[in-house]
């Protein structure tokens, strides 16, 4: 069930890896590192809140901040999981196929992932609408003009705009696309070695 197979690139580990593969791997390590740091922070925040409540001084902003940090950590590490091929898939069909057919299927699945990531990137672009926003006189004017309130949305207890947390979505769209591309490159190489 869990797609724990080594990525096809692993078989070629002795060959020098491409720039794209190395970039994707380095990026994945950075994403996991950041996600781990964020996990540590929200873990510490929750403990602080338990202690605060015990001493009669609960911190109202902790829960909202902890939840938002968790979401950011989740998207960062979810992008890295594409590089490690750890997202859960039903592998009944590829397990039954010949290595060559399985490799073609894997390429097809990764291409579908790429299409989705590109679409997500486009949706995030349309949502943030940076060109219209920077052309508008002010962010208020942008919202009035487009009825897109992305830059106005407040947080409940934190006193900062929600958009600072939403920024993880464009980051996710870009890095996940990159990881998809690296996987597709590895799939193609893998197919090439099988064909030989």
């Amino acid at each position: 069930m869990e797609n724990t197979l080594e990525s096809p690139g692993a078989a070629l580990a002795l060959r020098p890896r491409s720039v794209l593969a190395r970039l994707s791997a380095t990026l994945a390590r950075a994403e996991i590192f950041l996600a781990a740091v964020l996990t540590f922070i929200f873990f510490a925040l929750l403990l602080a809140n338990v202690a605060g409540r015990f001493f009669g001084a609960p911190l109202i902003w902790v829960d909202e901040l902890a939840v938002n940090l968790m979401v950011i950590a989740a998207f960062l590490a979810a992008a890295a999981a594409i590089d490690a091929r750890q997202h859960i898939a039903v592998t009944l069909l590829p397990d039954m196929l010949s290595p060559r057919s399985a490799a073609i299927l894997r390429l097809l699945a990764d291409l579908l992932l790429l299409v989705f990531m590109l679409l997500l990137g486009w949706m995030v672009w349309a949502w943030f609408d940076p060109l219209t926003a920077s052309a508008a006189e002010s962010l208020d004017a942008f919202s009035a003009q487009t009825f897109n309130f992305i830059y106005q949305e407040p947080t409940v207890t934190l006193g900062v705009r929600k958009v600072w947390f939403w920024l993880v979505m464009p980051v996710f769209a870009v890095t996940a696309t990159l990881h998809c591309l690296a996987q597709i490159e590895a799939d193609l190489k893998h197919l090439g070695t099988i064909a030989k």
Partner: protein, 423 residues
């Protein structure tokens, strides 16, 4: 139709399930012409995870990572040994008892099988147990992890069904104990069949020593269950408190947890929880689609045409869950089934949502140990060096035991609903 067809097609093509859900949601948006929804798609993805209860998921995974190295599992096993004394098949019962205690700390079968295979299987083999039977008992013991609180599956069900996770945890206690008792009976029977060796009774001083040594370790499950049962802390906070207790006991009492391990645990927890959380995020977007397409109402109408009895509905549901459990793992199965079946269960048949969740989760855990797709089965086979096919056969009596408990729960829902009602 188009959405349903692409859904099945994409799953079969081995596209990761999280992406299948997201892609199908997009397909629906395009087919139905509601393209205005595209603008809020990324916001929905983000919003799908903004849930306080969900914080307990990475925290319990974190706790499991600390457990991996903290020397706590070994002490709990020694504790079970010291308590039991000289019994035929003693070590097999000790294995199950340690699994029960571990289940009160861990919420994932795979995590528990990983830890217990290393601890229990070599010890049992040394004392003359057949290796494959030892692995089977350890794998079965892992089933207790997601049923005895804390439980990964109950957290995910709670988030999707919008129920208090604490209530679900408490509701899992009686079914967990029933399964434990049923497994004790299975081990008793196996002991006669395979002539298990008798465990030696430890001298009084050694017993006392083992109990004293295990006391700090035993404090961890006590902290978690105690704070949840007593209503002192939200499950999220009890996970944080349990983690800090594990760090303190592992690093300062047993001195086996190193600073480096602690850092690595955060990275592993971030990695493992992100996979589940991304699945939940895309499922939230997907449940939009299900609501728009009115799938639950269609299923409800179809079910109503078949039966009016809640009992028959639950029996049919359990057969369906067993089949689904065989081809997928419990987490994606919950994410796919609950949004469709829960409204039918509560709306048409008046079934209690907490009871429904416990039955669904217990049933789906069986899928972890059934071929052709069973992460727990393959983990145990790999760790224990036994063929998965052989292991699946040896696990059959344990499956029968769990099925008996499920049948008992379905016929007498009070077994599940009683405890949350009292507390």
């Amino acid at each position: 139709m188009i959405v349903g067809g692409s859904f099945i097609g994409l799953v079969v093509l081995s596209v990761p399930i999280a992406f299948v859900l997201a892609i199908c949601a997009l397909i629906y948006i395009f087919v139905s012409g509601n393209t205005v929804l595209l603008l809020s798609f990324p916001q929905q993805l983000f919003g799908g995870l903004e849930n306080y209860g969900l914080l307990s998921l990475p925290l319990f995974i974190l706790l499991g990572e600390f457990m991996n190295v903290g020397g706590i599992g070994r002490r709990l096993m020694a504790l079970a040994m010291a308590i039991l004394g000289s019994v035929k098949g003693g070590l097999a019962y000790v294995n199950l008892g340690a699994n029960m205690m571990m289940a009160a700390i861990l919420g994932s079968t795979v995590a528990q099988i990983t830890i217990m295979s290393r601890l229990a299987v070599p010890e049992m083999e040394k004392q003359g147990y057949p290796r494959d039977v030892s692995v089977a008992i350890t794998a079965a013991g892992g089933l207790l992890a997601p049923i005895i609180p804390p439980s990964m599956l109950f957290i995910i069900y709670g988030v999707i069904a919008q129920l208090p996770i604490g209530d679900l945890f408490i509701a899992g206690i009686v079914p967990g104990i029933l399964i434990f008792v049923a497994f004790l009976a299975v081990i008793g029977w196996l002991g006669k069949k395979h002539d298990f060796p008798r465990s030696e009774s430890l001298p009084f001083r050694a017993r006392l020593h083992a109990i004293a040594d295990a006391l700090p370790a035993a404090l961890i499950p006590a902290t978690i269950i105690g704070t949840i049962l007593g209503g002192i802390a939200h499950p999220t906070e009890s996970a944080a408190l349990g983690s800090i207790a594990t760090i303190l006991v592992g690093a300062f009492v047993y001195r086996e947890l190193k600073f480096r391990d602690i850092l690595m645990a955060f990275a592993s927890a971030a990695r493992a929880s992100a996979i589940v959380m991304f699945l939940i995020a895309t499922a939230t977007v997907f449940s939009w689609v299900i609501t728009f397409e009115n799938v639950p109402a269609q299923v409800a109408a179809a079910m109503q045409a078949m039966t009016a009895s809640p009992l028959v509905f639950m029996l049919m549901l359990n057969v369906l869950l067993l089949l689904i459990g065989m081809v997928t793992d419990p987490i994606p199965a919950i994410i796919l089934i609950v949004p469709v079946m829960l409204p039918v269960a509560t709306g048409v048949y008046g079934i209690d949502p907490v009871f429904f969740g416990v039955v669904v989760c217990v049933n789906l855990t069986l899928g972890l140990l059934t071929p052709p797709v069973g992460t727990g089965l393959f983990t145990a086979a790999l760790m224990g060096g036994v063929k998965a096919e052989r292991l699946a056969v040896l696990l059959l009596p344990f499956f029968v035991a769990v099925l008996a408990v499920i049948l008992l729960m379905v016929c007498f829902p009070q077994t599940v609903t009683f405890l949350p009602g009292v507390l």
